[in-house]
Symmetry: C2
Subunit: 157 residues, 2 copies
Amino acid sequence: MPRCRRGGPPWWEPRFQEAGFRLTISRQAILEVLSNTKEHLSAEEIYLAVHKNYPNIGLTTVYRTLELLVDMGLVFKFDFGDKRARYELSPGPAGKRHHHHLVCTNCGRVIDYTDFIDEERELLRRTETGLSEKYNFKITDHLIQFYGLCDECQGQF
Amino acid sequence: MPRCRRGGPPWWEPRFQEAGFRLTISRQAILEVLSNTKEHLSAEEIYLAVHKNYPNIGLTTVYRTLELLVDMGLVFKFDFGDKRARYELSPGPAGKRHHHHLVCTNCGRVIDYTDFIDEERELLRRTETGLSEKYNFKITDHLIQFYGLCDECQGQF
DNA sequence: CTCATTATTGAAAATGGTTTTCATTAACAT
DNA sequence: ATGTTAATGAAAACCATTTTCAATAATGAG
Ligand SMILES: [Mn+2]
Ligand SMILES: [Mn+2]
Ligand SMILES: [Zn+2]
Ligand SMILES: [Zn+2]
């Protein structure tokens, strides 16, 4: 289980300095877990993963840390309809690209996709401009998700 | 507080017949409330509204009925990030047009918009086609929401 | 219309993800 | 190294939603 950082410190360290938050073991461990997965983990799943190496870190701290990380913009929080929040490390400086999600309503699988993002971006840009003018609404974020049946679940219906 | 139906029975009545569900007082009352509001009510708000005219209808029934209505496709269920589900009557045969939402992250206000829906539709159509092919994912639904600050909340920051 | 069937309902209890409380611990500036 | 105080863990609280189960009422048959 090799560490990801092949060189200097993780890109998120300066962010803690700037914001004046302490870079604790718990926070590093949680960020480490998030940076080593491609999945969209729930708080409890993160807790369990962290717990293997740091058995004394509690679920409460995981929740609190995730809230902080979301506020800091280091982590994104999603609702895929399975009754629990799911988290994903922000792309970061040299990370993956911005993406949206396909959610299987049968098995819960979540697929990241970056295809058509450019077209989406263009539409979003125009929509945001138009809506800002018409409703004087200052748009700061958007959510786009597609729901349906994944490859494996289509046979069952 | 005039009833909306100026003529025949509401458009949703046949849907119950077809599906074999009983058209009870509770269900009619809840649909009536939903059809007489432009807001996106929570289960409890619907319960309170129904309760004025039918004090014996319980919150449990409201939850159960909403679940049924969502399953029947008569009602849409949304998550605007305020920790409780919110509901909206489906456009129906002669109803309002399909729309998406602007959500104020400060005061929670939700604005329906239908502008740019045609462009969105076109993008969605192409995206759905592309994603279906690439991931063999059968898309049945989508969610688009914009977040930001509404007219009144912009001054505060 | 009357009755039997059974879907539907209400009240109360349970559920479960998340948040709060509060005493203890540890990060880090000095 | 030490003091200040942010951060933490365990337990309890929170709260929207769901489940339980006995009672009720919508519907169809007669
Ligand atoms: Mn993702
Ligand atoms: Mn709406
Ligand atoms: Zn699936
Ligand atoms: Zn606002």
